[in-house]
Structures are given as C-alpha cells and as structure tokens.
Symmetry: C2
Subunit: 191 residues, 2 copies
DNA sequence: TGGGTATGCGGAGGCTCCTCCGCATCGCCA
DNA sequence: TGGCGATGCGGAGGAGCCTCCGCATACCCA
C-alpha cells in the first residue's frame, strides 16, 4: 500500500530506482541541486527524470514517502503513551522534526510544503488520516472538539510551517501550534 | 512614511515609475509575465529592473503596497464598527479578499505570500501593526487573550492562505480562520 | 525463438531568471 | 557654462527549467 506499482518495463523500473538513489544523495548534500545534475548522476537523460517525476515536488515526495509513512504511523504510538489532546500536540512536534530535518538536508522539502504543492497528494492524505486517528480517540473522550476537521488541522500545521520557514523559525511555529491546540481542545473541561 | 524615498537621480526615479506602471499593467493581464518583458515594456534594460527590484517579490510588493496600506488602516474602521473580537475576524476576511483579488490578477501575489517570502518586509510589519491595533482594543476589554502575539496571528493567517492556495480554497480557509479565532478569544466569558 | 508494437529513452532547444561590468548620464561646483 | 566624479543604465551570458519527438528497446504472442 505504501509503494505505487512499479513501471511495467524493466528499464523503466531500473531508471526510476537509480533516479531516486541519485536524488537522495544529491538532496542530502544540503545544497540546491539542478535536476539535470541528478539525471546525469543517475546515468539517465533529463527527459527520463521528468517522465518519472513531472515536478520537483514529485521527486521529493517519493524520496521521503517512507519516512512520512513512519511519521503518520507514529500517531498510534503516541496515542498509547498519552491522552489524545497531548498526543496531537506531540505529533505536531514530530511533524516539525520531520520537516526540519529535511530542511537541513536542503530546502527541497521546505519548498514542497511552503508552496502548498502538497495538494491532494499521497502525503497530504496520509497526514490527514493520522490526525483523524487522534481525533477519533479524543472526540469520544471529550477532550477534543467534535466539530473540527482533520484536514483543517493538517492545513493549519502545514501553513504554520510555510509561514515560518523563512523567518520566525521553530519558536514562533511552536507558539502557533500551541494556539492551534487551544482551538482544537474541547472547552468546558478546564479545571 | 508610506513611500520610501525616491532614488536620487532623475533618470532613476523616472525608470522606477515606468517599471511600476508597466508591471501593474502586465500583472493585471492575469497571465504569468516574464520580467524581461516588463522591462522591455517600460523601455528600460533588464539590469535596471533588477537594480530597482532585486526580486520578483520586491516588485509585486511595491505595486500592491498602497492597497495593503489601505487594508491595514481598515483595522481602525472595523474597530469602530464592531467589538474587537469581531473586528479581528472581519479583518482576516478583508485580508482574504485582498489576496484573492490579487490572485485573480495573476499569481504573483499568491506566490508572494505562499512562498513565505513576506518576511521581515514592509508588508509583514504593516500587517502585524494592524493586528496589534485590534489586540490593543480587545485585551483590555477582556475579549481577546493577552498572551497572544500579533506576529503569530499574522503568520497563522498568512500560513492559512499558503496552505489553501492550491486547494481547499476559501471555504477551508474560512474554517481555519474561525479556528484561529477560537484560540485567540479570551476564555471564560462564553455565555 | 523471432517479429511487431507499445512503451520508454534522451537530449536539443526555447524560455526565464539573474548577474556582472563597461559605458553613458546626471548633477554638483566653480 | 563647462568639467568631473558618482551614480545609474543596459544587455550579453551562464545556468536552470521543462517540453517535445524521433529513436531504441523490452515485452507479448505465435
């Protein structure tokens, strides 16, 4: 369920794998990379790169999909360890870690999120599912609001990242996420 | 206080004005415009354009600065017409209108906000001042929280826009802004 | 195993971005 | 008014993005 099905032809599959490998290495260097260079490093033509990954974001997303899956799965663990309203905030921090790491590895992922290019994509859907998992625990427990949508939370988190990626940084982002949590927690239970 | 001082030499001032005029026209066409074309239309060289406006965002910002100033000044009017916690939400809607209009005129402004490029810039500062004005009214009145920073609110609004610009759209953005308001309103007064 | 065709490959080319630096022009001062 | 230094101009050029299409190859079927 994690991978999409590989291309039909053997050479296509091979080239795709090579491109991913080359891109992983290139992005890890931390500097901005020309796609042409990645294609060259993978030993394929630029056309091949664009056929497999029509946009830069597609390439980045493919590389980090595994890690993103892990991030999303971690929602359940967090729920085991803490009540939903705490788990949600911790999950946001993990998201922050995830993107921050990628940021240090190059601004490819930052661009991915900042540009809002994470649209109906696999990534966005997975993130929404993860948040929904936490909501499903918190709403019956009465600690999280029932009238808040998971995709709105995801969009808010992504937006917080986008708006602070160039300045403000982690500290401002943390305050913004706290603010978001204030909105998402069910009222009337404060003691 | 609104304009920065014009360039010293007469030709520089003239070229700057021409560039702004040409850019206004070009962006109004709604299509993506090459900067070279704008320079050509203004009758100056591309180098001149880049000297006056080092980045595309600088140019866009200069064009829409007037309107943005108007948006920011409207905070006071809104405060006259409604209580601060309502005024703030309305102001967010105005911001939405502002950016949406620009979006229809071309994605230049969208890019400006979506990319987080609205950094320490004039725009961001003005927006923060406007929000601060509303906070200064709402905090003493007890309807808005005292421990929320204006720049965090601005970043959240900008982020909401960035995260919904490619999909989700106005409706999702409205829900997200409502959520933000839930966080910003002072608790304990609900009736 | 061998032939035919759908599928994939590759890179030239057109476009845009942005920089850099020699030349022209402005505006000051006598 | 005329000369000179600071300031601004312009566009060539290098680099990256992305598309497009003729050629090569892998897979299917007999």
């Amino acid at each position: 369920m994690v991978d999409e099905q590989p291309p039909r032809r053997a050479d296509a599959a091979r080239n795709r794998a090579r491109l991913l490998e080359a891109a992983r290495t290139a992005f890890a260097s931390g500097e901005s990379v020309a796609l042409e260079r990645i294609a060259r490093a993978a030993g394929v033509g630029i056309g091949t790169l664009y056929r497999h990954f029509p946009t830069r974001e597609d390439l980045v997303e493919a590389i980090y999909r595994e890690e993103l899956d892990r991030l999303c799965r971690s929602a359940s663990e967090l729920l085991d360890a803490a009540p939903p309203e705490v788990a949600l905030r911790r999950w946001m921090d993990r998201f922050d870690d995830y993107v921050a790491t990628k940021h240090e590895m190059g601004d490819a992922v930052r661009a991915l999120f900042a540009s809002g290019a994470v649209k109906l994509s696999h990534s966005r859907r997975r993130l929404t599912e993860a948040v929904q998992t936490i909501l499903d625990a918190g709403v019956p427990a009465g600690t999280l609001r029932a009238d808040v949508r998971a995709d709105d939370i995801v969009a808010s988190v992504v937006g917080a990242f986008a708006a602070t990626s160039l300045e403000g940084g982690r500290q401002q982002r943390a305050r913004m996420l706290d603010l978001l949590m204030d909105a998402v927690r069910a009222p009337g239970l404060s003691g």
